[in-house]
C-alpha cells in the first residue's frame, strides 16, 4: 500500500544532529531544487575578470541556464555560445566546431576582448575533447587575447575539484607568469565580493604597509594582471584554497590558506599565521573580541529565544556559526545542509554533545519540495540566516547573505550580529528577494 505524503512531512529529510552522520547526514537520492537563487554560479564568478568575454560550448539544455544568468545580470554583451548536437560528438568535428565557432564569435565582436573564458561541459570531457589543441590554435589566431580553459562539468562534481572550486581556480589562470614579484602586495583570492575593510584580516594587510589586491576591486584588465606580481596570496573561503595553491605553484609565489572561522581560538590562530606571513607582530585583538561578544549579547537580548535557522549557502561554516550562536544563548533550531566540510567535524561533535536536538535538514531531499514556505499555522517568528533557511522556514525575517557575505573575523561576527538584529526587526519580501540570481549582481528582473 502506497503511503500518501502529508504536505509537511520531512521524514528522512530532517533529523536530530544526535542521529546524523558526518559528513553526509542524508542518503543520496533524487534531488529537488529550492528557489533560492542568491549563490553565485560560474557565470557570475567568471564575470569578475574585467573586460573578459565568456563563450560556452555545450548542449542547448546546458547553455540555457548560463545564457540567462548573463541576461539577467545585463551582461549578454559579454556572453556567446556554441551549441553541441548529437552529430558533433560522432563526426570528428567536436574540436573544429569549438575552434571555428569561437573564432567566428570573436571576429564578430565589436571589440576584441582582452580575455576569453572558454567553457566546455561534461559531454566534451566524456568524449575526450582535445581542449589543449583548440586553445593552442586560438592563441595563435588571436595572439592579443588571453584564453582561459573553463569547465561546466557537474557530472564530475564528486571527483576532484567541484565546478565552483575549478572556477575559482581558473579565475586567475590568465595571470601571467615570469613577471616581477612585488613583496609589497598581497592578493586576496577566490572571493566574489570584497571583504569588509573593517575586518581584522584586511586591516592587518593594509596596516603592514602592503597593497591589497582582490579581483573584486579590479576595474581594468591591467588591475587584474597586477595580481600576478603579488608575492603572497591569501584565501579564506574553502572553495578558493585549491585556486590559491595552483596560482602559487604556477607563479612561484606563496599561498596562505586561512580557515573560515567563528571561534576565538581558531580566528586567533589564523591571524598568527597571517602575521607570520606578513612578517609583522601579532596585533592585539582584545578590543575586537570584546566588541564581537557585546554585539552577540546585544543581538541575543533582542532576538531572545526565537528559533534561528541557518543554511549552508549563507556561510561556509554553518555548524561553526550554529555553535557560536548556541554558546551565546541563541535558540539555534535548524541547520540546512546536505554535506559538511571536514573542517566542521569538531563543531559537529560539539553540537551533537551539547545540543543533540538541533535539527539537520536537507535542502535537496525530494520531500523538501513540499516543505517550502514554512509550516502553515505555525506562528512562531523565525530568524533565518541564508536564503534557503528563509524559504524553508517561511519566514520574512532573514539575513540575506551568501558565501559569508564578505565578513571575516571578529569584525565579521559583530557585523553579522548587527544584521541579525536588523533582519529580526525588518521583514523582507522573501519570495522576491531570494529569487534574484547572484546576490550583489545587477538584475534585470
Amino acid at each position: 500500500m502506497l503511503k500518501k505524503l502529508g504536505p509537511n512531512s520531512r521524514d528522512n529529510a530532517e533529523k536530530r544532529i544526535a542521529d546524523a552522520e558526518f559528513p553526509q547526514p542524508f542518503a543520496s537520492t533524487l534531488e529537488y531544487n529550492a528557489p533560492a537563487r542568491g549563490p553565485w554560479n560560474i557565470v557570475h564568478t567568471g564575470m569578475l575578470v574585467p573586460g573578459s568575454h565568456q563563450i560556452f560550448a555545450c548542449a542547448e539544455g546546458c547553455l540555457r541556464g548560463v545564457i540567462l544568468t548573463a541576461a539577467e545580470m545585463n551582461a549578454m554583451n559579454r556572453m556567446s555560445w556554441i551549441s553541441v548536437c548529437e552529430n558533433d560528438l560522432f563526426n570528428g568535428e567536436l574540436e573544429s566546431n569549438i575552434l571555428e565557432g569561437t573564432s567566428d564569435i570573436l571576429r564578430k565582436l565589436p571589440v576584441l576582448p582582452r580575455c576569453v573564458l572558454l567553457f566546455i561541459s561534461c559531454i566534451q570531457l566524456f568524449a575526450g575533447c582535445d581542449l589543449e589543441t583548440i586553445l593552442d590554435k586560438l592563441r595563435k589566431r588571436f595572439p592579443h587575447v588571453d584564453f582561459i580553459d573553463c569547465y561546466m562539468n557537474p557530472t564530475m562534481r564528486k571527483h576532484g575539484l567541484t565546478p565552483d572550486q575549478l572556477m575559482r581556480r581558473q579565475l586567475y589562470a590568465a595571470l601571467k607568469a615570469g613577471g616581477k614579484q612585488d613583496s609589497r602586495s598581497v592578493n586576496l583570492l577566490g572571493n566574489d565580493r570584497p571583504t569588509e575593510e573593517s575586518s581584522e584580516l584586511v586591516r592587518m594587510i593594509r596596516d603592514s604597509g602592503k597593497i591589497l589586491r582582490d579581483i573584486t576591486h579590479c576595474r581594468s584588465y591591467e588591475d587584474y594582471q597586477q595580481m600576478a606580481e603579488s608575492a603572497l596570496s591569501v584565501t579564506y573561503l574553502p572553495t578558493a584554497a585549491a585556486g590559491g595553491d595552483a596560482l602559487a605553484e604556477r607563479l612561484g609565489r606563496k599561498h596562505l590558506p586561512l580557515a573560515y572561522a567563528y571561534s576565538t581560538e581558531e580566528l586567533l590562530e589564523q591571524y598568527r599565521k597571517l602575521a607570520d606571513a606578513l612578517e609583522i607582530a601579532m596585533p592585539d585583538f582584545h578590543a575586537e573580541i570584546s566588541a564581537s561578544e557585546r554585539a552577540l549579547d546585544t543581538a541575543q537580548k533582542q532576538i531572545g529565544k526565537a528559533p534561528v535557522e541557518i543554511d549552508y549557502t549563507a556561510t561556509p561554516r554553518p555548524l561553526a556559526l550554529a555553535r557560536l550562536l548556541a554558546e551565546h544563548g541563541f535558540h539555534v533550531s535548524k541547520v540546512y545542509a546536505d554535506v559538511f566540510l571536514e573542517t566542521e567535524k569538531n563543531d559537529f561533535q560539539w553540537l551533537r554533545t551539547n545540543f543533540p536536538d538541533l535539527r539537520i535538514t536537507s535542502t535537496v531531499h525530494p520531500k523538501m519540495r513540499f516543505a517550502g514556505k514554512g509550516v502553515p499555522g505555525n506562528g512562531e517568528k523565525v530568524l533565518a540566516i541564508g536564503q534557503k533557511a528563509a524559504y524553508f522556514s517561511g519566514t520574512h525575517f532573514f539575513v540575506n547573505q551568501v558565501a559569508g557575505g564578505g565578513h571575516y573575523g571578529f569584525d565579521g561576527i559583530s557585523r553579522l550580529a548587527g544584521q541579525m538584529i536588523e533582519a529580526f526587526q525588518t521583514p523582507k519580501d522573501t519570495e522576491r528577494v531570494i529569487q534574484y540570481k547572484g546576490l550583489g549582481c545587477e538584475s534585470c528582473l
Binding site: 502506497l2 537563487r37 546546458c62 545564457i67 540567462l68 561534461c122 557537474p154 564528486k158 571527483h159
Partner: protein, 389 residues
Amino acid sequence: MKQTARIISVYASDTSGVCSALYELGGMTVVHDASGCNSTYATHDEPRWYHSDSMIYISALTEMDAVMGNDAKLVGDVVETARELSPKFIALCGAPIPMMVGTDFDALAQEIEQECGIPTFGFHTNGMHSYLTGAAEAFDRLGERFLQEEMVKTPHLSVGILGATPLDFSLNGSIDSMVELFRENGIETVSRIAMGGSLSDFSELGKTRVNLVVSQAGLALAEQMFRRFQTPFVAGVPVGKGFSRELLKELRLSADDGQCRFPCAVRNANAAPDTPAAVIAGESVFAGSLARAWSDQYGSAFPVRVLAPLEHDPRLAAETDRDIPDEEDAEREFSRASEIIADPMYQPVAPENVPFHPLPHEAFSGRCYHKWNRNLIGRDPQWKENPSC
C-alpha cells in the same frame, strides 16, 4: 556560423519541454542529470515553481554511475521516492550524458513500472532539441496511455486545447482567456492540456468535437486523436479580434466536416520573396496566428512573414515563411524586414532603423521580461499605433 551565437539567447530544451508539459498533472518527473537541468528549468523555464508544488527532480547523476552504467541507483531512487510520494505517473527523461552512455529509458521505465505499479514513461530527450520536441512527446505518450476509448462526444460544440505550456504562454491568463472566448461563443472547453487542468483532462479529451492546437507541442497528440477517434483539429491561437473570429469559424467547420485545418499557416497578405515585410519570429503556431492578426489589422498593403527559429512541422508554416535556426539567419532576415515582432533578446541583431516590437517569449528569454508580458487572446496588439508594443 551554424550553431553559434554572439549575443542572442537560446531556446529552452526538450527536457524542459517534458517537465513543463507534465507539471500540473500530478506525476513525478525525473531528469537523469547531474544538477544543472533542474536549476535551469526551475529558474528560467518554470514560472509556476515557487507557488505550485510539482514533483520534478533530478537523479543527481555522477561520473562514476554514468561510466559504470549504474542504472540500478536511478531505478532504486525513483522507486523509493515514488513509494513515498505516490505520483499518478512517473516520467524519466534524459540529458546529454545519458545519451552518450546509451541509457535505455524505455527499459528503465518498464522496470520501474513493474516494481512500483505506477504508469512510467521513458522520454527520449537529450538536451539538444527544443522544448517543443520534448513537450510534444510528453503529451503524445500520455495520450497513448490515458486517453479513453469509446467516450461519447458532447452533444454541443466542444473543444480541447492542446499544447499549452508556460514556455509559450507564460502565466499571463491566455489560456483562461481562450476558455472565456469559447464560452462566450457557445463552445465548451472540455480539456486544457496542460495549463489549468489535470490528468483527468486526458480521459475527458475523447468527448471533444474538435481540438485546438495552440503550439507545435500539441500537434502529435492532436494527430493521435484524429487517428484514433477521428477528432479533427485546428492549428492556431485566437489572437487579435479578427483572427479570433476566423478561428472560431474554422473550429465550427472542422467539427462539422471532420477535416483538420492549419489557419496559422495561411497568409492573407503574403510577402513576396525578397520584398521587405513585417516579420514575426517565434513558435510557428503562435507566430503564424499573430501574422494572421497582423494582416487582419493592417491589410494586404503590409505584408508579413513568419520567421521560425525552432524545429517545426511544415504544415504549420506558409511557403513564404523562413527558418532562422541560427543567429546569423535571424540577423539576415531582420535586415530585410520593414518591422520586427520578436522577443527582446533578438533586438541586438536587429537593425537599429527598423521598428522593433518586443514580444517576450518565455521559452527564449525566461523570466527576464515578465513585466512586458501580454495576453493577446481576442485582442488587437496595436503594433503600429503604439510602437513600443
